[in-house]
């Protein structure tokens, strides 16, 4: 189905951001594991894979609209050098993602493209969930301090 060019461009912008976070959270997961923070490593690996599933939905939607999914373009991958910096950069990225997705939902609604709206809303819920988890971590850090918080990240949940 021939899609609206503005919708396709917006979907590609969302795709670029998803592809960027796949890489960012994957390298975050590996660095957390290298430092010994198994719990954070597991969480970020899962998030990276969730972002890949989001990218899959977006690519399928763009193809359905007869657009060309752009898998060549990436935004800067923001690699933090400490655990807390990684969490900070992740929340920064998630906040931008939520804003971008809400703008996408508004555009899809304006264009009467309910299918695209639903795809974006589903992705948005996932990003909000992770942003909420990240905010919880900052609240924990505020309450118990960096050292106590990090000592709880050394073992995974199993």
């Amino acid at each position: 189905m021939r899609g609206d060019p503005e919708i396709i461009e917006m979907l590609n912008d969302v795709l670029t951001a998803e592809l960027t976070t796949i890489n960012q959270y994957f390298v975050d997961a590996k660095m957390f594991a290298n430092w010994g923070y198994e719990r954070l490593a597991d969480k970020f690996r899962d998030e990276s894979i969730d972002e890949m599933k989001d990218a899959e939905e977006l690519i399928e939607r763009i193809l359905y609209l007869d657009g060309t999914p752009n898998l060549q373009r990436l935004n800067p991958v923001r690699v933090g050098e400490t655990p807390v910096e990684k969490l900070t950069l992740a929340l920064e990225g998630e906040t931008e993602a939520i804003d971008r997705l809400n703008r996408g939902v508004a555009l899809a609604r304006e264009k009467g493209d309910t299918g695209t709206r639903d795809v974006l809303a589903e992705i948005l819920h996932g990003e909000e969930e992770f942003a909420d988890w990240l905010e919880q971590q900052f609240e924990l850090i505020r309450q118990v301090g960096d050292a106590l918080y990090l000592s709880q990240q050394i073992h995974d949940d199993d």
Binding site: L74, P76, V77, R78, V79, G80, E81, E85, L89
Partner: protein, 64 residues
């Protein structure tokens, strides 16, 4: 944060190069190597240069 992944240069090192007088991508590259290989970080380096210029402008404004 690692800004230039090719040369492994972080934002603090780039900030120090700018504070040391680097005012262009070439001058940043000459001082710390950032942005001298694949070029993927150049938009980020531009943003850091822009942020530093804004801070300087605000400081000058406050000082005046």
């Amino acid at each position: 944060m690692v800004v230039c992944h090719c040369r492994s240069v972080n934002d603090r090192t780039v900030g120090a190069a700018i504070a040391d007088g680097a005012a262009s991508l070439e001058e940043i590259g000459a001082r710390c190597g950032a942005g001298t290989r694949c070029g993927g970080c150049r938009p980020m380096l531009d943003a850091l240069l822009g942020a530093a210029a804004r801070v300087t402008a605000t400081t000058v404004q406050h000082a005046a």
